[in-house]
Subunit: 230 residues, 2 copies
DNA sequence: TTCATAGTTCGATCCTTGTCGAAGCATCTT
DNA sequence: AAGATGCTTCGACAAGGATCGAACTATGAA
């Protein structure tokens, strides 16, 4: 009946999924990168279990989530980094136009500084890092994409990151992801994920519990800057 | 009841705006870059004018759109490239794993070059023209307004445009109008309308059918540049 | 087996919101 | 001044969907 001429992809369908507060809370929680159970997500969204279950079914049908059954638990996670990127983009707009910027929130400043974006680092540190890497020609922009520079692979190998290994999947090695707090790009992709791994495994920084916030130790920050911002 | 601890910006609010099919169609149409009137957007969305008006008010309140009143027309456009980027990201997810198919539309480049804006010329040519006229002191900025320069009247008279005649109505002779494709001002007002008349009557250019596109002939473009861009 | 825990499905309720017709403003044209 | 056009506001209606309690399924523990 509806003769709506769809010019592009069904954008309304996806956006309406994100447009419900309960679902938005769930998705935001999943931005931290960890898969969560239905109960945890229900708590996070502030709804009962049946309601959460209904929402999760819709998100699954929309292709935004994947699920892994483990015993009687079902772990839900974002289906792709692309979904995470979309959520960040929406956050960027929401933060920019925020007519009701009620309160910045206690840990908001920390979020701006450094946080987890699905599986890579975001925030001011991450933005500066990408700029430094581009500046040093270790990474180079190629139109909309980001590619490894001439000495990129050897540079990362020296740090202890094997770009080749992470490049085997279909997922792009480098990808830019718009940062909602700083409004500039940071590095996503398998390389971005590998760098976050490095930061955490070297204990330069640790993740706050139940939050996306990443806190650098004084020494860790120096190391991070030495390695990536120089 | 509102115990929703907002970790970040209010993502649901923005997403729900995009989540309605009618609004999504409007936003998709505006992705082309050109500002459209409420009527055009109603047609695009497949709803009646009152409905469209209601949607546009919501999008405005959400900060996704800006509006420029031009006579009895109201031209709506995306409020920032950031919003366009967000829509692109949503399209990417909606299209599945597939690449982003944001096609500019066949006549989009032509629209950017030259188009009708209500009753005067818009697009790159129009923007350049206003700059040249200001540069030659034929027109001068007076705060927010634009006025005729010292030799303005004689200049236009030599071309065959009677500024005095067109100045009799209450409508201002000169007025600037923000160009959505170039994001700079072009000339509106009775003088802008008279110039468009001149261009069309001299057959320097013609209007495309069912479109706002204005196409210059090779010779017409030269004439236009000689008269206005010199 | 029997009980407990995690999760889904069902049915009913209730509220939000998209929708349009009619009327009201504002602006331009004649 | 009178009419036409673009757009908004108002009022009423209908449909979609978010929510929860209760019942049901599945897995693990006793």
């Amino acid at each position: 009946m509806n003769d709506t001429l769809k010019d592009g992809p069904d954008i309304a369908r996806i956006a309406s999924l994100v447009g419900d507060p309960a679902r938005a809370n769930m998705l935001t929680a999943l931005m931290a990168g960890a898969a969560l159970t239905a109960s945890e997500l229900a708590l996070e969204a502030g709804v009962t279990l049946p309601t959460a279950s209904s929402h999760l079914a819709k998100l699954m049908e929309g292709g935004l989530l994947t699920v892994a059954s483990e015993g009687r638990h079902r772990y839900y996670g974002l289906s792709s980094p692309q979904v995470a990127g979309m959520l960040e983009a929406i956050m960027g707009v929401a933060a920019g136009v925020g007519p009701k910027r009620v309160r910045p929130g206690p840990r908001e400043p920390k979020m701006r500084e450094a946080r987890v974006c699905y599986d890579h680092l975001a925030g001011e540190h991450a933005v500066k890092m990408l700029e430094a890497l581009l500046d040093g020609k270790i990474l180079v922009r190629d139109g909309k994409d980001i590619k490894l520079g001439k000495h990129g692979a050897t540079h990362f190998a020296a740090i202890g990151i094997d770009v080749e290994a992470s490049g085997k999947s279909r997922r792009p090695v480098c990808r830019d992801c718009l940062d909602w707090s700083v409004r500039r790009s940071h590095l996503a992709g398998t390389l971005g994920a590998a760098i976050l791994d490095k930061i955490l495994s070297e204990k330069w920084a640790r993740r706050e519990k139940d939050s996306r916030v990443v806190t650098f130790s004084p020494r860790g920050k120096m190391e991070f800057e030495r390695v990536f911002l120089r």
